[in-house]
Symmetry: C2
Subunit: 239 residues, 2 copies
Amino acid sequence: MPIRYVAFDGDDTLWHNETRFHLTQTALRDLLRRHVPDADVDSHLAEVELRNLRLYGYGVKAFTLSMLETAIQVTGGRIPAADLEVILGWGKQMLGEPTELLEGVEEALREVSDRYELLLITKGDLFDQESKLARSGLAEMFAGVEILSEKNVHAYRSVLRRRHIEPEEFVMVGNSLRSDIAPVVELGALGVHIPYPLTWHHEQIPEDAMPREGWRRLASISELAALLDSLDQTSALGA
Amino acid sequence: MPIRYVAFDGDDTLWHNETRFHLTQTALRDLLRRHVPDADVDSHLAEVELRNLRLYGYGVKAFTLSMLETAIQVTGGRIPAADLEVILGWGKQMLGEPTELLEGVEEALREVSDRYELLLITKGDLFDQESKLARSGLAEMFAGVEILSEKNVHAYRSVLRRRHIEPEEFVMVGNSLRSDIAPVVELGALGVHIPYPLTWHHEQIPEDAMPREGWRRLASISELAALLDSLDQTSALGA
C-alpha cells in the first residue's frame, strides 16, 4: 500500500522548543543559587515536573507552575515574591516568543506536500500549540492538525481511525522516540526519527528498547523527500 | 432537515465549573486582605486574567498563574512565598477534584442519545478538559469530542465542516450566550441556552445583543428531550 499521509511532530521537529525550556532552566538555576548556592535545582525541578504531569500535562504553563513550586521549595520559602514575579515573566516570554523554524523545514514540507497529505500531530498545551502553529507560517500546508494531551498508541489509533487512515499508508516524522516513533511502529506504521540536539529527559527511552524494524533515522528533515521516494519505489516493486 | 446532532458544552452545562473558580477566588480575597485590608482583589484579578488571555488561554493553569500575579502585585511584592505556595496548592486541588455533574445530566443525555448523535464541544485547557471528561463517567455517550481553544463562529464552522454536518441538523446546548449560542445561531444552527447561576464575566454578553431567533432557553437540561421532540414535529410538519 503506497504512503498517502505524512504526519509531523511540531516541537523540536518543525520548530525549536526544548532550547527555550533549557535557557529558562539555566536562568532559574542562576536565580535560585543566589539564595541557596549549592542547590540541585535541575534534579528538584525534574522531580516536581514529573509529579505534576498527572495534573498539569505538558507545556509552558505547566513548566512555569513547576518552576515556581521548585523555587519556593528549594529556598525553603525564603525567596521574595519579586523573584517569583520574574519567573512568571519568563513563562510569558516563552509563550510570546516567535516560532523559530528548524533549518530546511519549509523547503522539506513543500517538497513532500506535492505528493502526500500532510498532518501536524503535536502534544502539549492546546492554546500554546495553536498559537505557535499560527506564528510558524506553516498552518496552510497541513490538511489536518491534531493536538493531543499524550502521544501513545491509543491516541494515534484514534487519530488514524477518525481520519480513515490505514497504518500502512501513514508515516510519522518526529524527534522523540517515545512519543513519535515507538507508538506508531507498534501500530504498523512507519516512524521517521530526526533527532534534535536536546531532548527532555521525560521523552528519552533507551535505544535498545526500540523495535529493530518499522522506523528509520534521518540526520535532517531535508533528507525526508528522498527517503519517501525510495520507500515508494520499494512498495511499487513489492506490489 | 431533521436534527441529527446534539452537541453539549461541558463546563457549567454538564458539570459544575465556575463554582470552583468562585470559591477559590473568595479564598484569594481573604488571603490577600490579610496583607492589604482594602485591596480590590476581584477587579485586579479580572484585569490580570483579561490581559493574560492572549498568552494563557482558558483553564485552571491560566487562572492559577493569574492569581499568583495578582497576589504579588496587590501586595506590592510583600506576600511571603509560603502564601504563594498555598495558591499553587489551590490550583492543584481544582485540577484534581472529582467532576460533579449538574442535576439531571445523565438522564437527559441518555434520553437524547437514543435519537441523536451526541457531541461534546468544550473550551479550555486540553489536559484538564480530557481529565474532567474521563472522571465524569460520560465519555462513552459521545460520538465525538472537540476541545477548542476558543468557541467562535470560525471554530464551530471548522468542526461542522470536518464532521460533514449541516447547520440545520445541528443543535448546540450550553450555558454561555457568548460561546455556545451566539456563534452557532450565526451559522444557522439552533442554540439551546441553559443558564447556570454563575457566569464568568468574560462569558457575559448583554441579552439585547443577541439575535431574536435561532435559539431557545430552558431552565434545566431535563427539558431538552421534550424541546427536541417538539422541534422535530415542527420540522416534519413543515416538510
